[in-house]
Subunit: 338 residues, 4 copies
């Protein structure tokens, strides 16, 4: 096992999954990476006066660190990425409304003739030792502390079929899924589509509500440490996530019920595999014992997760050959100093 | 405060909210009702041989107990219904697939040329003292215990505009919302559209996964006790639910993102009312601190809930004038013996 | 054959399909009705100063003339309604934007935090002899003549299952389908759900673009003459329309693709019946030879139509036993003077 | 003006818009191209025994001829592509069902647990002189002739933001829009995102019903002749199409109402530009005088078109500076012999 340290310069950041970008590092199965990711605004929003639509260059939203080439990862394999730690890289995180982006506004796709909502920025002080971020209203003295809960909104590999996809969207290759489940302690499973998988990640959130309903979470640059492992010969059609307690299937689509259907369908067939149940028996078990989590309802594709408690499985240590347990035990190196 | 006991005969059950049915009881604000509800199959499915599409009469699915007339409830008021207790009325609950109904099948609306999935019934033994229901696979020996978590899938009032709506669907009047949040300890707020509100409820579930993805939960007849209170002069545009810890807004619509939008929009404006925040500040708070819960993704209208922890509010005891705290303190009478 | 003349007073207008309203006339199969319908604003918008949200009473939008009781129409039968003539009842028609209603605005269901578009009224002079209506811009001198093309946005029967549905929406019972295909010369087929069918119609449009994208068409009170016939023992699951050249199936639902699916599914199975093709062969024929028409994309349920040219059928005179040809030949009585 | 002849070999076909593929030819504004396109199966389906899922290599569906580099086309410009002629390249066209693809089946996104529909192939004889294609049922002797109406399902440029998109889907860059409006005599306007535009086209259909409801049209290799012109300094946000009589805006999205909204929104703002109307007056005109056309309801993004008759415009010859009229007058060279 090697530990790779990688701190991208601004010009090293990427805005697609797939495409011609050269890998920033070559990893072996079992390696650990200690790296830094920028926030979704590329760090350009520093005060409440910095309206994102003015200070961010078009096409430079949601930068991704990577791609990382993983040796021996071939199409048809699965890449497991275990998030070992995430530490906010700056003492302040940022959120905003953004013109015609978000769940409670018309958008470029849900197009109406109405003008956009006011663009407004909120700054959140991060109190990492206390595990809190502070919400401060902009138009009144109201303030309240919320739990610090770091996560990556964006993680993915190069798509299939020679596609390159914007880091703003998500699909079967992962990408901008915007689910709080990609947090320290979680293992993300991504189907490999090209040699080396070409892993990228970014869009750290100090925390996020379900649906990312305002279109922007509590955005934060991150020091992140993760480990990778290649699972040979096992295909993963849609991203999956495993925590200590839960297995989860991710669906990315519009309308939202299709994201729901994809995630539940994958969980049913996966549960059938893990339990030996026939499809309808697995459907019944998932229907009564499962749950559904809302990722984003603001990006070009929405994200839903279907989740099942692992204690319902006959032997949860067999999930992807026990990779989650192995990677969970990897010691966390000190984060890179960016 | 009076306690009303009411046990409907089969012919007393109703299949719409609204319409000409005479009230089964007249309640006063503050009264308690101890009653019985049938399961969604009207109790007709007793064994795994009883396929619902064969044993249930068309148009007799999802019966509702009621309507209850609430004195002094007038259009523009809100009816608070607090669920004091729910006890399964039979030792066995039932689930099934149902032809062309559910989230992972084509349906009458998501119409395809494919034949339906196999219709199959599952029986669940209820161990009320242990708080468990037992899932047993039909095609293999697999079995597992799941928590007993009683809830009402269906609760509502007469709709506005002279409408009468099938008990299968949900909308601004409530109805078949199919959310686990309508459980003992919760207060449901429903906008009153007609004099007396005309409250009905049914569709007890011993438990349910998010989305009711198979179209049918763990269906159980219930002994249910609830209390009502009329909140005069306060309108409630969409159903809301309050628990000891959380305020929730319900949206019912298709596609699923519209159910999400309705629920989040209502929670944002409600939060603005409860905190004094302006709309965008409330939007930001809900976006980062709120969550989203999936009710059903199988009924004619889907249900989503937007939820906010009450500890974030300056004074949560002011929600609807503190009715939740008052009704929470009502002593629970012994359930009626059906 | 009898000719019934019926002119409703304002208090005779109805706002639901289904419900307790007594029939306004009793018709026999083959009878003709000469009647009057109000516009969707109940005639309250007479000048560009009459903003609909101010001059229309809540709950009094989209009034319907009826219900007409049709003798011998029983559940499981089909009611054929042939539109013999439509003549605008006033020399001016009216359109408007309406707050949070329409396809290019957020709405009560596609809920956003944006304020509504400006409410604005347009008046259209009707030149009936020339067959034209005149569009005049409100903010510039631009004007242009458009073809007069009268149609009924709303036609339906009482729904199944004891429901009563607002005249604003549409579903399997018909209602506010808002398709230009309900025009003179067309026969509408509606499945009968209650004894007497309880037919109603209204919402005349002097013309309408596809999708009724602004939420309001060129609204006009109408003198309308129609004939009815009961087709015994033939069920019609969703509304169908027949013109001299085309058979059409209607789907009403959200999202729009479900309205599309319902309509195409019905046309495929209907085509299989009319041609003897097996289902997949009919699917193929409809896929290559059929078309799709957009009804409304603004009402609570959207409407799509699937259409097939009748000349592709082996014998188009067998459609519903040739009722279209029979009713097409009915002489048109002079319209009632309202 | 130069005439370029280009006949791709099988290995020259492309499966994405955007990406690293080198241009197959360099065109100047005003040039004409005479080329050949393969059908969506790459010509692999030759008999009813050739089930597409067996005879087509994965990832080799919907090949595109190109990319063509257009000199002087820069981001922010518009590329006009006028289709001069289309002649089927083989005497037989082909259609099929395809597993879990189409509007009346569950799919990978509208995921259900049902097995796919039977995969079945239909062959259509093309009678070019008579302008007919012959539908023959597979399970009965039924046959009928339908009009030959050649069109390209797929035409587009490289997307923005460094993306490369599968030729199966469509979006703001064009792609697999699957609308019959891309036919001889039509001019397609595409916003340029990369230097040279990188135009590609393919997926010829001998004809297609609205919605491409079976997922596959009457697929045919084509001899196609087209002309290009660069409109400098004029951006086009979504594809537009102009015929001799009509201007059309294209929207590609899910759900279908968003495709509708995009197309209508673009047509409203375009109409405002072309008429000088303010936005709401243009909204009103489009709402009453416009129409909506269904492209596809089966691909990863659905396509809708909004259309307005050109005779309603004050001066239709000003549309994009009159490029349609200029290109309409280009003499058609003899098609290339492939």
């Amino acid at each position: 096992m090697s530990v790779h340290e990688y701190t991208p310069a601004a010009e090293d950041l990427r805005f697609t999954f797939g495409g011609a970008a050269a890998p920033v590092a070559r990893l072996r199965s079992g390696d650990v990476v200690s790296t830094v990711t920028e926030d979704c605004f590329g760090g350009a929003v520093r005060s409440v006066e910095d309206l994102p639509s003015r200070v961010c260059a078009p096409g430079r939203l949601n930068p991704v660190t990577g791609p990382f080439f993983v040796e021996d990862a071939e199409p048809g394999d699965t890449l497991a990425v275990h998030v070992l730690s995430m530490v906010p890289a700056r003492p302040v995180a940022v959120s905003s409304t953004f013109p015609h982006f978000g769940a409670l506004t018309s958008t470029a796709h849900t197009a109406t003739l109405q003008p956009p909502l006011e663009e407004r920025v909120w700054l959140y002080e991060i109190d990492a030792p206390a595990g809190l971020v502070r919400y401060r209203a902009r138009r009144s003295p109201f303030m309240v502390d919320l739990p610090l809960a770091p996560m990556h909104g964006t993680i993915g590999v190069a798509p299939a079929g020679g596609e390159a996809r914007s880091s703003i969207t998500c699909d079967a290759h992962g990408g901008n899924m915007d689910t709080p489940e990609v947090r320290p302690g979680a293992t993300v499973y991504l189907g490999v589509n090209v040699p080396g998988a070409m892993l990228g990640l970014g869009d750290g959130h100090a925390r996020q509500g379900a649906g990312e309903v305002a279109g922007v979470a509590v955005e934060a640059a991150m020091h992140t440490v993760f480990a990778v492992e290649v699972i040979k010969g096992v295909a993963t059609p849609w991203p999956r996530i495993e925590s200590d307690t839960t297995v989860m299937s991710v669906g990315c689509a519009r309308p939202l019920e299709d994201a729901f259907r994809i995630s539940q369908h994958d969980l049913v067939t996966w549960t059938a595999d893990l339990t030996g149940l026939d499809t309808l028996d697995a459907y019944q078990l998932v229907a009564q014992a499962g749950t559904a989590l809302v990722g984003n309802v603001c990006d070009p594709n929405y994200t839903m997760l279907a989740a099942l408690p692992k204690h319902l499985l006959p032997d949860a240590t067999t999930v992807y050959g026990g990779v989650h347990q192995r990677l969970r035990a990897v010691p966390v190196p000190a984060p890179v100093v960016g």
